[in-house]
């Protein structure tokens, strides 16, 4: 069959394969889901960063996004739902040499894991958190979550969501994160750059990526197919660096402010602890 494809070379390996667990590909994500693109950006950022890859650890919770840890050829921990951040905290404190990155979904990090998120931010724990926000719980087939816009429909908000959503960058900033950025899954180059910045940051850094879940969220809200949903997010987004994150609310069908919102320096938990004990 492959020979019928015109003008391209059929290959077995990809230049990013050394950072991937090839024996697990293709991954489980739906066709057109933004997660794969986000992972590509992450790998690309890693390739540009000057890190000892043996010291980079990925921690995920449970969810579609949470599977990320399982596709990267790095030390990876796929923990329990919501608990990636405290697990990551233990890893980091247990071995401060590690670069610990949490990759997880909006439900995992903001619903069941919300407390850990705000406390890690408060402590300025030296972690990078990549939160993929698809406005719903993809893995369990599309329920309402803490980032679902008001009025949006999901399998558990069939009459429209009666809750106000979190503004993730604001929550991060208000609780102490020292680097906060947001992009959509289509802002591949900028996302890559933010990931580099975030991982280079000492302290708690958060990158939120708005990403389509065509299978559930897109379908419930009649957003068309994956391509259309991805395009819609991108088209509705406005790049505004250093925006006060309080202004970065997302409403159903409204504009999405993206950019690097916060980038400041503050002693981390480890800094302060070292100081205190001395």
């Amino acid at each position: 069959m492959a020979e019928e494809l015109t003008n391209l070379l059929i290959s077995e390996h990809h230049p990013m394969d050394s950072l991937l667990r090839q024996d697990r590909l293709p991954h489980i994500w739906c066709s057109g889901c933004g997660l794969g693109t986000v992972l590509t950006c992450f790998v690309s950022a890693l390739q540009k960063l000057e890190l000892d890859l043996n010291k980079v650890v990925i921690v995920s919770g449970i969810g579609c996004t949470g599977r990320a840890a399982g596709y990267l050829n790095l030390d990876g921990f796929h923990t329990t739902h919501g608990r990636a951040i405290p697990f990551a905290t233990g890893l980091k404190l247990g071995n401060p040499e590690l670069k610990v990155v949490v990759i997880s979904g909006d439900g995992d990090l903001m619903a069941i894991g919300g407390n850990h998120f705000i406390h890690a931010a408060r402590r300025n724990m030296d972690l990078t958190v990549l939160c993929v926000n698809n406005f719903n719980y993809g893995m369990t087939s599309g329920q309402v979550g803490p980032t679902t816009p008001t009025d949006a429909r999901t399998s558990t908000s069939p009459y429209g969501n009666a809750e106000h959503p979190f503004n993730v960058p604001y929550l991060a900033a208000a609780t102490g994160a020292t680097y906060v950025a947001r992009w959509t899954a289509l802002h591949v180059r900028r996302l890559e750059r933010s990931l580099i910045e975030a991982m280079n940051k000492r302290g708690f850094s958060l990158v939120e990526v708005i990403s389509p879940c065509p299978t559930y969220y897109g379908r419930w809200n009649k957003m068309g197919d994956a391509l259309e949903q991805m395009k819609q997010y991108h088209d509705h987004s406005i790049i505004r660096h250093r925006t006060d994150p309080a202004e970065a609310d997302i409403s159903l069908g409204g504009e999405i402010i993206v950019g690097r919102f916060v980038d400041e320096d503050k002693p981390t938990f480890c800094d302060l602890q070292r100081e205190a004990v001395q």
């Binding site: 293709p26 489980i28 994500w29 739906c30 066709s31 579609c64 893995m139 087939s141 299978t215």
Partner: protein
């Protein structure tokens, strides 16, 4: 005892479980039979293996698993490979022609093939109804459940507004039978 075991198989997103549901509902509510449907799939929403097991019987059903199905619908190569062996002697295998290569021949079974996905995609404009096309094809090739029951079950199970699309899909699959036989004759 009149007992039928049927397995639908493919991967997540192909509507495998819906097919089983519709067939089961047709038998249970429109044909008054005892029916048990069980689904197996992985935690991933899409892409993982998916299968629906339907047992239709005149008596109460205890053990709900299909062990020797008389009818197997395979909508992926993987599903075909995994399940073709369990098909009962003389059983019927329905495959999606474009997605399954018959590389594991058994001469004790009957095979009917239909390009269900391609029909759904190119003729009906919605890949998603490939499973309904396949159901129509099933109704044409097997007498487990009367096609009228299936039609009613389809209509009572799908989202409002998609009745016409699904009816067309069912009919297209039902009508495909002849075409297939002709092709087979020409082969």
């Amino acid at each position: 005892m009149n007992r039928h075991e049927i397995r639908f198989s493919g991967f997540g997103g192909q509507g495998i479980i819906t097919s089983g549901y519709i067939l089961g509902k047709a038998a249970a509510l429109y044909d008054g039979r005892h029916v048990t449907l069980i689904k197996s799939y992985g935690p991933e929403s899409r892409g993982g293996a998916s299968s629906a097991q339907v047992i239709i019987s005149d008596e109460e059903i205890n053990y709900p698993r299909v062990t020797k199905p008389e009818l197997l619908v395979a909508m992926s190569q993987e599903a075909y490979a995994k399940y073709v062996d369990e098909l009962a002697d003389g059983g019927l295998l329905l495959i999606d022609k474009d997605l399954v290569e018959l590389n594991h021949p058994r001469d004790d079974i009957r095979v009917c093939a239909i390009p269900a996905t391609r029909i759904a995609e190119s003729e009906l404009g919605r890949k998603i109804v490939a499973n309904i096309v396949m159901l129509g094809f099933l109704a044409a090739n097997s007498e487990v459940v009367p096609v009228e029951g299936i039609r009613e079950a389809v209509l009572s199970s799908i989202p409002k507004g998609t009745e016409e699309l699904n009816t067309r899909a069912l009919e297209r699959g039902y009508a495909y039978e002849i075409q297939y036989l002709q092709e087979a004759a020409n082969a």
